[in-house]
Symmetry: C2
Subunit: 179 residues, 2 copies
DNA sequence: TATTGTTATACTCTATAACTATA
DNA sequence: TATAGTTATAGAGTATAACAATA
């Protein structure tokens, strides 16, 4: 109930959370996400597919070839949504659809030079937005919080709960690419 | 980067998070929220307005009188949405719309006996869902995590970022009711 | 004139189902 | 027959604007 009065580098609360909600984990997560999305949106500014578009671009820049469906599954979005997302990115010349010589049905999504540059820039901006969100926590607390959050999400993904439509995503960094 | 291998009472990760996302705070928050919502939904089962309906009911049961608009602002939902929400709850006889003698425009949303009972039941179920979500963390970590999350949200609410359409919500528990 | 509750409308996001071209 | 990509459509959810009753 009572916070231990942040130790350092923290902006004091100053705001009392609504009585019947401050214990509601779902509400807290939603508000935190909402706050981050707003901060990120203003930080990123105009971006082809919004934050989703950024994630797509990010997924194609890992150094390994991925076609639309692989990216879609990895991000947990539908194929049909991915089409629009890649459309937007391609219109902004941030990625290109390249034919896959091994499977003529597939279109490999490859980042352009401009895309990679944009990716670096936006990534930096997003990191600032994250810092802004976590500002109320000390440096040590930020690490603990992020680590705990990662483990919670890992739990969600491994639990029966299907986090993304297809958990195919859970592979290593790259290795068995198009295979 | 490397987790310190959960100390106790924690289900080990077992799942590798997608490379380019496990550092993305927004994605992590979204997945955590998604996991909670699914767990909560199945835990709560059929409820008039879904989880939103539950929040409305919860907001009316604090012991102080609130009309629709006050509840709406407190929860950050639109007036027009609140109408449907209260409609659903009233149809399920969980709340009643009572005239406010002090202001004949307003309708005080008052929980029924059945509503209060249902509230207690669902609250308990939700607490289980939360425990399920936080299971990967030790008891101590759960406390630290929740506390950090609360402070992050408090920061969001106090920051320039408007968390809910109208920050009127930030009042004490009850005191100046209808005034 | 401003505000509460209400209704109707429009807009966004997502999910589903088809259709094509390949495999 | 199954799969990658595409397109069109329907549904949920939300936001906006207008209206009636009251302040």
């Amino acid at each position: 109930m009572e916070y231990a009065d942040a130790q350092a580098g923290a902006t004091e609360p100053a705001v009392t959370l609504p009585e019947e909600l401050h214990k509601d984990l779902g509400w807290l997560l939603g508000q935190a996400l909402h706050g981050f999305l707003l901060a990120a949106q203003t930080a990123v500014g105009e971006f082809p597919g919004g934050l989703r578009g950024f994630q797509v671009l990010s997924a194609t820049a890992g150094g390994c070839e991925r076609n639309q469906l692989e990216v879609a599954r990895r991000l947990g979005v539908d194929r049909s949504v991915m089409v629009r997302l890649v459309d937007d990115l391609e219109r902004g010349t941030l990625v290109r659809r390249c034919p896959d010589p091994a499977d003529r049905r597939a279109r490999i999504v490859r980042p352009t030079e401009a895309g990679l540059a944009r990716l670096r820039d936006v990534t930096a901006r997003l990191r600032l937005a994250e810092q802004q969100l976590l500002a109320p926590l000390t440096a040590q607390e930020q690490i603990s919080f992020s680590d705990a959050l990662r483990r919670v999400v890992a739990g969600v993904l491994s639990a029966g709960v299907p986090p993304v439509p297809d958990p195919v995503a859970a592979q290593g960094p790259c290795p068995g690419a198009t295979a």
